[in-house]
Point group: C2
Chain length 452, copies 2
């Protein structure tokens, strides 16, 4: 029995030394107890020559698993060092969904070259999977599953399990089909074990089964599996034929990627970057939204410019510019984040109508606006500004909170209708828009109240 293996820096250092010395036996012995998932992490740190050396010490099955675990960029770069025939040998050992993902990343020519070398059955499965959109249930599923004809006996089903045991690593259920491959239900392995050999599958299978269609969105699949606590879900085509199976590990990755993507969008990062990416990649991912924010800032500067005369008369007006813009930004992000949460949780089937929702948003905004307006009014005396300016700021803040709430609520809903990820609405976009909105409200209120 073994605890989870944390690779220590010591281990890594001595491994690197052994690799540098090309000490075959030593490296082999060191890597022997390391899991494929941890080997991938190690390979990220090695240069290509060292990787190639390590690979010739490992068996194809382990390499297949490592390659399946690598991230897209590294994998593509890495596989360029190997021939299509070599890559095909690894693909023969991969699960069909991982193999299809890998080939999907490749130029069509390379893909065809590799498929020419894979086993016939493997190539057929992969070609079948390549037909589906990457983010659909079909793109997520694997072909590996155990299919049992409804007319079989338990002993026949067990024979099928034995035949496929190598191929299908994780078996939770047998999917029961008729002679036309129409999905009828499932039998859990538990039931198979407890049934007598001659029991008919027809007598023990559950027909109350959740299945997803090949064209369903992967996020909907994730929601279904999460809601009903499923470890696997069968995938059927429009005719109801059993096409594949999605397992929970792939769905967990979908959930994590979605959360990461939302966080990036909220933070105004336009590409999937990590701390250890290159300086160039990091800059490229960050500049676009910074430029958007800058454009907003320049527009704001232009706008305040219209009030230069007012400012010359009352420079204290400038004191409150950061307060106004910050409040607008903060309120907008809060509002859009609450809507984001609602959109993510589609299963709440009763959201009430749009006007009711907006009414509530405005009610919350009025309370927040009143509190903030009053507190700022009180504190403006500490800042020794005129009562007139204090009133201006408070009134402006009140309206900024309300308008920013409405903007923050409506923007993600509109983006979602336009099939743009609504998380964009919680990022620099909303902050920039609300900065401008806030300035407009503030200077308009000031201009009216002071009758410059």
């Amino acid at each position: 029995m073994r605890m989870s293996l944390e690779i220590s820096l010591d281990f890594y250092e001595s491994l690197k030394e052994a690799i540098a010395q090309r000490a075959d036996e030593k490296v082999k012995a060191m890597l022997e107890p390391v899991r494929a998932e941890d080997l991938s992490a190690i390979l990220y740190e090695l240069d290509t020559d060292d990787c190639v050396f390590v690979f010739h010490l490992l068996d194809d099955e382990t390499i297949a698993e490592i390659v399946a675990n690598l991230d897209e960029d590294t994998r593509q770069e890495f596989l360029r060092n190997f021939s299509p025939a070599q890559t095909a040998r690894w693909i023969n050992h991969m699960d069909s969904d991982d193999a299809a993902d890998l080939l999907n990343e490749m130029p069509l020519k390379t893909r065809e070259e590799i498929l020419a070398f894979t086993e016939l059955e493997v190539a057929r499965d992969i070609n079948d999977l390549l037909r589906y959109e990457e983010d659909s249930a079909g793109g997520l599923m694997a072909k590996e599953l155990i299919r049992a004809n409804v007319n079989w006996t338990v002993v026949q089903a067990i024979e099928e399990i034995r035949r496929q045991a190598e191929e299908v690593e994780k078996i939770y259920s047998l999917y029961v089909v008729d002679e036309h491959n129409l999905l009828l239900g499932r039998v859990s392995l538990k039931k198979i074990i407890l049934a007598s050999d001659q029991t008919r599958i027809a007598d023990i299978y559950e027909d109350d089964l959740l299945a997803v269609k090949t064209y369903e969105d992967q996020e909907d699949v994730a929601e279904i599996m999460q809601k009903y606590d499923l470890e696997a879900v069968p995938v059927v085509n429009a005719r109801g034929e059993l096409m594949g199976r999605i397992t929970i590990d792939d769905v967990v990755d979908v959930i994590t990627e979605k959360a990461d993507l939302d966080r990036q969008l909220m933070a105004g990062i336009s590409e999937d970057v990590e701390e250890d990416d290159s300086i160039f990649a990091l800059t490229r991912a960050r500049l676009p939204w910074l430029i958007v924010g800058m454009a907003g800032g320049l527009l704001g500067a232009r706008f305040i410019g219209f009030f230069e005369a007012d400012l010359a008369l009352l420079p204290a007006m400038a004191f409150f510019i950061p307060l106004i813009t910050a409040t607008g930004g903060n309120v907008g992000i809060q509002s859009s984040s609450i809507i984001l949460q609602s959109l993510a949780n589609k299963s709440s089937f009763m959201r009430g109508n749009f006007l009711l929702r907006m009414g509530k948003v405005i009610a919350v905004a009025i309370i927040n606006g009143l509190v903030i307006g009053l507190v700022v009014f009180a504190f403006s005396f500490v800042l020794e500004v005129s009562v007139q300016l204090a009133i201006t700021v408070s009134i402006a803040l009140f309206f900024v909170v309300i308008l920013a709430s409405i903007m923050g609520t409506i923007t993600p809903l509109i983006l979602d209708k336009m099939h743009i990820n609504p998380a964009v609405a919680s990022g620099p976009f909303i902050t920039t828009a609300n900065d401008l909105l806030g300035l407009a409200v503030y200077f308009t209120v000031a201009h009216l109240l002071f009758k410059f």
Copy 2:
């Protein structure tokens, strides 16, 4: 075979009508095909009397599942309508982890009253689970699992599965222990099915098994299960004794909750609220961070106040205040979000040393700062401001980008060391701090360059 059930508004309306008429048979017939997970969603929409009516039509097992699915607040409010004896009857049907979670939410007195009515074995399991911290592996695990002695034969193991079949709904593996309950390894159900009856467990079990300790953090458990694609992981105590099992469905919830919490913190929402919570709850969750932002804004106002004389001489200085604060905020959030991603992904075991990381952060910041500074310098001519002011703004922006990058990088690292959720650093906190930082840089540079 059935597709995932979407509850339609029509169905809900006619159900509500039937409930209002207290039409026992009709309601029963309507609810019969609905899964427990969907029943929970319906119950959220009913008032307490209607819920109680619906409950008397359902069997204890279904109710147990519904109650386990409710969220904490609703559940507590709801259970107040039932006696401890009644609650105990439902708890008898729950998985031990769900039961422990439920009792954990209750006052000690109620908890003891309920436990007094549960079956002895159930109470023992629950009491065992209540000992662990809620966010540890022990707090996440369930006691339901199949334990096989290493000296058994396959047929003995199957007998054990039969004995426990009712209790343990999902069986993936048998956990193999010695006579002292020390965990030795596991056998998959697949292997059990394919082995002959008289095969000894000792000959077929895998000893290369991942297990977690009771005291491990639930987020570490989630990371391990995700990395190694596990559908279940056994939990052992410090002595290595098998204590329970964590299944992937609970870990998926951990991952989702963590993502939701991070998003809330980034958006400056201090409590777990949803769109359909009360106006009061929504306001309470939003005001704290708005007040923080406001305090920052007032400090900013105070700070700009020091430069009132400068502003009177050159009102155009105020034009660029939103640009400066927005840029600082955007850069800060980007930086902290990248660090957040690194912190979440602890498995990258080689992050390099701190100085190298900061060097890279500063390199990226210098490039971004140069680009933004130059673009703004170019555009300032469109705005018809003096060359001197354009230079001031550009230089200030350059330094703001660098300082905000450093702040955004260091803050989450410090929070993490202090065991505060580092996602706080990507919220209004960093924006407010960077607003102030930006203002300080801008007015200092201006004061120096213009020699007011």
